[in-house]
């Protein structure tokens, strides 16, 4: 695969424009998942878990811009930058041989089941438990919340805490005994993606299905997932924001306000420039974050947190500005701008911590706290 980021982005954008965009509005109206559309992305390497983070980020950017489908982009992120990367980089040989080809082709879909809704604070952030059974197997019990791809996934990366307080990670087949995927959650946004809660009741997993070593569930597995979320899964949102800017420019060329062309308004012009500048800055931060991830253990996690914060706030700013430009044309329409603006803020919240939390963590780290 060529490492020319611009070329990768163009390639992904072209494919997504042809394979994803034409049906995005209809699928959004119908809240319809299209696995075949995701599988088509494999032909430009969008599903390749062994690609570098920089390559995946460039491809993801193009997917977002060309596909104009936030839900599918979100599903892609959970699959490629979540489950697939974990299997590719941290799973044992047997698991890799069993699942990697199917994950890379899209024949199998992955998800990451980590977040939970906790009744009480937990040092690890999860309450799902794993215990060793008498015959050297493991048994999982717990509930995961709002798992993207869960209703349609084939495998899930599941985290659980053992009796020693260490977090382990396992690759669990969705159809395994003891795994119950709840009903698909009805959402107002990201309607072309699928979300569900996942319950584990005495779910038995084998030792070879454990990912990483004992106690590496947070320190290695989820750290990898978090890095790829911030450097790769955010990339389509940059592309989507760019598409939103382009849609706003196109609208400004033809729209009118108080009987005059929108494009002649200096206020509108300034808003369009600020949108575009913000997206350009976000794209550079994500590309930089991806390069950091590719440095492996030398990765500067602070740079990734900065990227996540900036992109998250960019999505909100650009979405709001786009709605201002479109004005009353936002009402009752299938305009991509309206869909994107609706999904932008939601997508950012699902991918990472709330911006207030991210900002506080970055500030605290800057002060040497924690």
């Amino acid at each position: 695969m060529t490492s020319d980021a611009g070329e990768l982005r163009r390639r992904a954008r072209a494919l997504a424009a042809e394979a994803i965009a034409p049906t995005a509005a209809a699928r959004d109206r119908e809240a319809r998942w299209d696995g075949a559309a995701l599988r088509r992305l494999a032909c430009v390497g969008l599903l390749a878990p062994t690609a570098t983070a920089s390559e995946l980020a460039a491809l993801g950017d193009g997917l977002g811009e060309g596909g104009v489908d936030p839900g599918l982009a979100h599903a892609w992120g959970a699959h490629t930058a979540g489950a697939s990367v974990v299997v590719a980089r941290l799973a044992g040989d047997e698991l890799r041989a069993r699942w990697l080809p199917a994950l890379a082709s899209g024949e199998a879909l992955g998800a990451v089941a980590h977040a939970e809704r906790l009744d009480a604070p937990s040092a690890t952030g999860i309450a799902t438990r794993v215990r060793a059974s008498a015959r050297g197997r493991w048994v999982l019990d717990g509930q995961k919340h709002l798992v993207v791809n869960a209703p349609v996934a084939d495998v899930l990366v599941v985290t659980a805490e053992d009796d020693g307080g260490r977090v382990q990670a396992f690759l669990v087949e969705r159809r395994a005994r003891g795994v119950t995927v709840g009903p698909r959650l009805v959402t107002d946004g990201l309607r072309t993606a699928t979300f569900a809660d996942v319950r584990l009741d005495g779910c038995v997993v084998w030792e070879e299905e454990r990912i990483g070593l004992a106690g590496e569930g947070l320190s290695r597995v989820m750290r990898l997932v978090r890095r790829y979320r911030r450097a790769v899964a955010l990339a389509p949102w940059v592309g989507l924001s760019r598409a939103l800017v382009e849609a706003s420019v196109a609208h400004a060329r033809v729209g009118r306000r108080v009987g005059r062309p929108l494009a002649s308004s200096q206020a509108v012009r300034a808003r369009l420039v600020d949108m575009r500048t913000r997206v350009d800055l976000a794209a550079r931060l994500v590309a930089h974050a991806a390069r950091e991830v590719d440095r492996g253990d030398a990765c500067d996690d602070r740079a990734l947190a900065s990227a996540a914060l900036f992109v998250s706030e960019t999505l909100s700013l650009v979405a709001r500005a786009a709605l201002e430009v479109h004005g009353l044309d936002c009402l009752g329409s299938d305009r991509p701008a309206v869909r994107l603006a609706r999904d932008a803020t939601l997508g950012a919240r699902l991918l990472d911590e709330h911006p207030d939390v991210l900002a506080a963590v970055i500030g605290g780290a800057l002060l040497g706290l924690g």
Binding site: A282, F310, A360, G363, L367
Partner: protein
Amino acid sequence: MPFSCEDFDRLCRDRIAPRAAAVDAAGAIEPATMRALADAGYLAMFHDGTDGEAQGRAMEALARACAATFWAASISTVLCGKMLSTLCSEASRERWLGPIAAGDVVGSFGASEDGAGSDPGSYRTVLYRAPDGTLRLDGAKSRITNACTADVCVVVAREGDPRSGPLCYAVVDLSAPGVSRRELPRVGLRGVSWGVIELHSVVVEEAHVVRDVSYEATLGAVEWGQLLQAWCGIGIGEAALDAAARHVRERAAFGRPLAHLEAVHGPLGRMRAELDAVRLLAREVSRQKGEGRLAREAVMMAKIAATEVGVSVAQAAMRVSGGWGFATTLPFERLVRDSLGNVPAGLPNDRLRELLACAMLDASPWAYEPLDWLEPAGLAIGG
């Protein structure tokens, strides 16, 4: 000797930064500082093939140490120097570029006038042929950095007719008879000279006049000005963030340092993210300019974003520092004042927005449409 980024960082941090407050209070930069910059290679690095990334890093380090010193040195060697090297004649380059790079003379660029800022169509300084056959300049350039300290000025003038003559560049020896100068009062950057250069029948040699300069060539030089303003915004922002972090660690309230408050973490975190973002763009522009390329829209976006981030970060740093942020014994008020100068400098940010937007919309940045929205909106008095 190749330029050493580490040595330059040390010079800025250990020698120049501690003097920044004094420079602001005195309204002047010590000659020894300019000599130190010359000896460190800062003035020459923009003309000797040093790569763009190192140039950008040096600009940030100096701006972070002292924005006024940065402006004085950079307008001379970067803006005036690039004008000389890319637009002006061989004679002008030989006479002035080497001495600027060596720190022996100071340069300036004279475009704006009292009645003309963003609109070159309003320039009235005129170059004309006097009855004795000499070329002479009449007019006044206003809001010029290094106005009272410069030895040379690249002046934009109209040739022949002050209203309709074609624009040209005249390289003016400011020691020539007929030149008078004065400072203008301003909010910030008080250590650098900034004022008016009046030209009363000043003789200019034919060899130091350049005509028919292409738009691309002009852009190539002017972009350096926008880039240095971007780096100044970033440098001021970093200085402000650093000062704020130090202050909140030391200052206690309610029994613990301010640094323990979430209300402090959040703003600092956002400052960090914004500075990281604009730095990446400025670095890319520095790379492009260092390679001799036009940066076009990238440098305009960098100038807008970085200068405005500089202002917002400086203001946020003052805010998290509470009442002491307002005191002149801490650097925040100087940093806020200095940061404001970058926004209108060169082309003001809102004019740059217009230019960028018109390119996006295929509209003309020169067309004027009178405001006539009152009647359609039902707001006309008596309407």
